[in-house]
């Protein structure tokens, strides 16, 4: 089994707010991230897939295809977007980096050919990242 990781970068904005909480509770919990005008991040996405090496091609997965899927399913939808208002995944969910990693997993999982999705890692900043390995 070989694990292959491909990186991509995208920029997006968001803010944290739960309508079930009072304004004070939102402010206390989310702090500066609660500003409804949003703020941006340069996200780094790492997608790891796993599989056996095809003896004919020597590949686990066609990297070109993986790049295209990542672009189509994630970057085209999220790059330079206000996640709360423009990306349906976050109309009902708070676009924390945790939920972002889960949403990206869900977008990619069924779209991959050949190899299986192993991990989605999302860096919000260089010193903070979230890993999601799926529910199972």
């Amino acid at each position: 089994m070989v694990y292959l990781t491909r990186k991509a970068e995208f920029s997006a904005s968001h803010y944290y707010h739960n309508p079930d909480f009072s304004p004070e509770e939102n402010q206390r919990l989310f702090g500066k991230c609660n500003n409804p005008n949003g703020h941006g991040h340069n996200y780094t996405l790492e997608v790891t897939v796993k599989g056996e090496v095809d003896p004919r091609s020597g590949f686990v997965v066609d990297l070109k295809q993986l790049k295209e899927v990542m672009h189509r399913e994630v970057l085209d939808a999220m790059d330079h977007r206000f996640l709360n208002k423009e990306v349906p995944d976050f109309f009902q969910k708070i676009p924390t980096t945790e939920n972002l990693a889960i949403a990206i997993w869900q977008r990619l999982e069924t779209k991959l050919q050949q190899a299986r999705l192993h991990r989605v890692r999302v860096y919000e900043t260089p010193d903070l990242f979230v890993d999601f390995y799926g529910e199972n």
Binding site: V2, L4, T5, F59, L63
Partner: protein, 114 residues
Amino acid sequence: MSTEENRDIYGKCNNPHGHGHNYALEVTVSGRVDPATGMVCNLVDLDGFVEREVLSRYNLENLNTLKEFARTVPTTENLCIEIFEILHRGFDKAHLERVRLEETMMNSFEYCGS
């Protein structure tokens, strides 16, 4: 594979004149910390082994001309597995956990054995 199939699957990588990468290799070993030395293994031993058995073999070489890639395509997947096997066979100072190979800043490959 046919000429067309090779071009289709490998694209620019199918250029018979070859192309180079600045690979970055990560070797992960595990083990108990030796109470006398405070080390899992002596890094001098690991560095020496990697230098002698891996880097001196592959650095600045045309991989396609080496015997291990005479019948196997030198994709980074296969290079990663080959380096793991070299370490697995020859390095006995600690347990080999993983070999990770970066082909570019955007791509990397990991192998932990079969």
